[in-house]
Subunit: 257 residues, 2 copies
DNA sequence: CCATCTTTGTGCACGCGTTCACAAAGACAT
DNA sequence: ATGTCTTTGTGAACGCGTGCACAAAGATGG
């Protein structure tokens, strides 16, 4: 899920399927844990269990990277950690800017997982002048005016948007104009970006709604399909539905963001 | 993607494909925006543009819900908002507990998107006794000891885990034992859950790593495959690779095929 | 009532991703 | 060396998701 521009043939470039790329970080995490415990080698079965996937899938995934295993033995942990890191581009470190230092932005800035794996918080940016200079996670917040300068000076190519939905597209446009080509979007909006820019989104309420769907399904299965007393739709606009199946009714209980 | 237990045949229940379910919240958001502007009807083309998807895909998605459109006209906005809300189970509201009130947990508690769309924060829970009673987002934090009682009293079926990775599995086990059947996991760990429990994960560093991969690919495409001076791996464990195909240190070729 | 025009709903084909199942490859013991 | 045993790497089949392209449905105007 989640690349904004799904139009591209995706993995046309150089073999590795998108689905595999999405799992590599998972394998890497499991391997790193093994490495810390000084485990020398691991079989596809063990590693798959640790990563929560099927072992056949894991082997096929690795086969796209090359033949890094040894039959009858398994995979060399250290070697594989390096190979995957390199494939993911984690041998260099990536400066990242976080825009929007509210609750979420601050949480992200404090998140340890950044620095540990090839990512470095190059700057924290917020539109509120009152925030300027105030340190968050040891880094002073800078004003939006500085955005372009920071990106160009530090060669930032990855931006994280943690602003309110209303500001997201505008921030996105400025990031892209300044040279950012990869964006991680936490704002609940669809971002419009030009060709060549990758967008991934993380959306809280979408995840919750998907869970709610399954939850409802579970609940509805055991209970017989009783006529649930759901109020019929408002049908405020009756026009297209001349054949109104619901006479009265009132507003759906859903509200905006 | 990202349901922990992918084993289930997924959509076996009642038609609606998983991929479609994942997009419904997107449509709902776009429709809600239209509703606020009092737009009466919308065509699949317009709505698809607003949601950032293909119009054919949108129509097919809606076809799984039923025939709610009117040919030659489009879809009734209010009606569709209601239908999707009902399908997603948002006409009832879901009590949610958030476990782990650190930076991220606090951010989640403050996130407006929760309350607005059928979700209600039933409780904030943290293991630190010092946090107990302290209000976050207007809700007093409660100690982990209360977890089981809260879940049972409020009939909570959805839990959000925002703890450090080390505590996540343990918290998860307690949530499940107490009756939670859907979990949204922000901790960077694979959660093990019994059959029937849904897990969705949101993982920062994985998203960033995927972006890094594509970023590296973009950079590597324009620049010719110059011998990048990447330091070869430690290769601490040489054993399994006794048959070194290279005279010197095994240089990882940038790409297999 | 008929013709035309718009937009939905869907049959169909295609490609990606997943899984099975097995042959090949190497380790290890004798 | 040779045989056995373990585990990888992958060919092939299958199913899901996507997008095209078009017929059917209804609106609208004469």
């Amino acid at each position: 899920m989640a690349t904004g521009r799904t139009h591209r043939p995706a993995t046309r470039s150089r073999g590795i399927p998108e689905a595999t790329v999405a799992r590599l970080p998972l394998y890497l995490r499991a391997l790193t844990a093994l490495s810390e415990r000084s485990v020398p080698t691991v079989s596809s079965e063990e590693l798959a269990a640790a990563a929560g996937v099927n072992s056949a899938k894991l082997r096929k995934d690795f086969s796209y990277l090359g033949s890094y295993g040894t039959r009858g033995v398994g995979y060399d942990v250290e070697y594989l950690v390096y190979q995957i890191s390199r494939e993911l581009g984690l041998t260099q470190d990536w400066p990242v800017v976080i825009v929007g230092i509210g609750n979420l932005g601050a949480a992200l800035a404090n998140y340890g997982g950044f620095a540990s794996r090839g990512f470095r918080v190059a700057a924290l940016i917020d539109a509120d002048p009152g925030m300027a200079g105030k340190p968050v996670a040891g880094i002073p917040v800078q004003h939006t005016d500085e955005l372009e300068k920071i990106i160009q000076d530090d060669g930032v190519s990855i931006g994280v948007i943690a602003t309110p939905a209303g500001a997201a597209q505008q921030v996105c446009d400025r990031l892209v104009a300044a040279g950012v080509t990869s964006i991680l979007n936490f704002a609940p909006t669809v971002l419009n970006v030009p060709e060549g820019v990758d967008v991934r989104k993380v959306d809280l309420s979408i995840e919750l709604q998907i869970l709610a769907f399954h939850e409802q399904r579970k609940a509805g299965e055991e209970a017989g399909a009783g006529a649930d007393g759901a109020v019929p739709p408002v049908a405020a606009r009756k026009q297209p539905h001349s054949t109104d199946q619901g006479p009265d009714g009132d507003v759906p209980a859903v509200m905006p963001a």
